[in-house]
Symmetry: C2
Subunit: 275 residues, 2 copies
């Protein structure tokens, strides 16, 4: 693991690191924020998964979460959204390939060898962060858009890995949306019976989530239809999953939306991870 930068922020340290990933077969960049409380001992850890086109940097720079992490005593992890490099498969579209890993393990060519983001996030980077930073065994997960899909699906796929869950404007039903069908088809193949295992609304009906979940969704989100927001709210209600689903009047899909509600999400996770 190599340190790219460390900046003091809100009494803690915002760091950026690289490491050679076995899962993705390339060098990966990620960011960790350690709050001042980490100087006294391990703190709970909140994972933030980013959306299409993002790197580790977007939320680290624009979500304003460090202030809240310092207030509530949580570490933050900001992973990248895909493997990257000149030797790694890519696509001209913004929503496939590099920057668009969709948090699944690809089985299909040309993606298979490197696009193993599910294993990377849920296992490899988790182990690396736990071993190298002052974080406890209590982990929560959240994310925005494609990262909201990642947070919801990984939480349900890996019972016991995450004790708290939330999402900002998540891609909610990718098996039935143009934000999902293209990518699940490319990464997992044309057999659609394999897709529900990677679809938050379907997973909720199949496996369920042991805890409660907080979801914020902008009412003026320019990608509202692609996100299939109502599929998730329907599934949450019909499965009687404890939740707080908030449709926020006037907010769009941008980081102005995420940053506005970031404190509520950090507080939500802190209450569950520290309680």
């Amino acid at each position: 693991m190599k340190t790219i930068s460390e900046n003091k922020a809100f009494g803690g340290v915002q760091g950026v690191y690289t490491h050679m990933s076995d899962a993705c077969g390339c060098e990966m960049t990620f960011a960790v924020y350690l709050p001042p409380q980490a100087q006294e001992g391990p703190v709970p850890c909140l994972w933030y998964l980013s959306g299409l086109t993002c790197t580790h940097e977007n939320a680290m720079t624009k979500a304003g979460m460090q202030a809240h992490a310092a207030e509530f005593g949580l570490a933050l992890v900001f992973p990248d959204t895909s493997p990257r490099g000149d030797d790694i498969a890519n696509d001209d579209a913004y929503d496939l390939g590099q920057g668009a890993g969709f948090y699944v393990n690809a089985t299909e060519a040309p993606w298979g060898p490197h696009f193993q983001m599910e294993t990377y996030i849920a296992s490899e980077l988790r182990d690396l962060v736990t071993e190298n930073f002052a974080v406890s065994v209590h982990h929560g997960i959240t994310g925005h858009s494609m990262g909201g899909h990642g947070a919801l699906t990984l939480a349900m796929k890996y019972p016991g890995h995450y004790q708290s869950l939330s999402a900002f404007a998540p891609i909610s039903n990718p098996a039935n949306s143009d934000w999902g069908r293209k990518q699940l088809g490319a990464y997992l193949g044309a057999d659609e019976t394999l897709w529900p295992a990677h679809d938050a609304s379907m997973l909720l009906r199949d496996k369920g989530w042991v805890g409660d979940v907080l979801v914020d969704q902008g009412a003026d989100d320019q990608f509202f239809d692609l996100l299939k927001a109502s599929a998730l709210s329907d599934a949450l209600i019909e499965t009687k999953t404890a939740h707080c689903y908030r449709l926020q009047e006037g907010y769009d899909h941008s980081y102005y939306f995420v940053s506005t509600f970031a404190r509520d999400h950090v507080a939500w996770h802190a209450e569950r991870l520290k309680g």
Copy 2:
């Protein structure tokens, strides 16, 4: 004036606008954040001047100030740092020309025709913002690095324009620093007797500032020597200007430093503009 984008943020609106500037002779971009309180009537207005290489976008995206502006009921204005365009003079160096206007009115070729940032900020954009947004007559000014220099010098050059003043890691004594001598020489000419009128530490001794001032400076600032921090703290003490000068242990020159202390600055201005 043309609206480029408007996003709801913290109950208010973060907008980006362009207009044809008479002072700069080109189209200029600026950003205004209106807090939710502006829906009820005019609110005080805090100007944030950015540093070298920045546009209107850096602080708008990375400083996290909208949350605090909404909390305290202030509008925020984020101007650009210079005129811009293919037809506008420029220099290959990052610290001269476009992105480095230094908040002065250039008299020398090739800068004179467009680099009129002092008049642009203190008069033209001020009038435009006051006429087009729900802001009151109470204005404060702050800034980072080159923008800290701009805030300090404009506040002293234009008595009555600004009722509150602060700065983040300001360029404090440009007439005696490599961050300043090159630019003042280029924009104002080789006659150094003209420079003190644009140097915060010298202006403070010459004209003074009617109010008090808050300054934050990172102790681990990588540009500490170029900023000439002690020239300002010396001048503040020797002129008996009421102030709060904070050297912040471990902080560098980045927006992690600015965002960490942004709430204190917004609160400082709010107390003085609303009190």
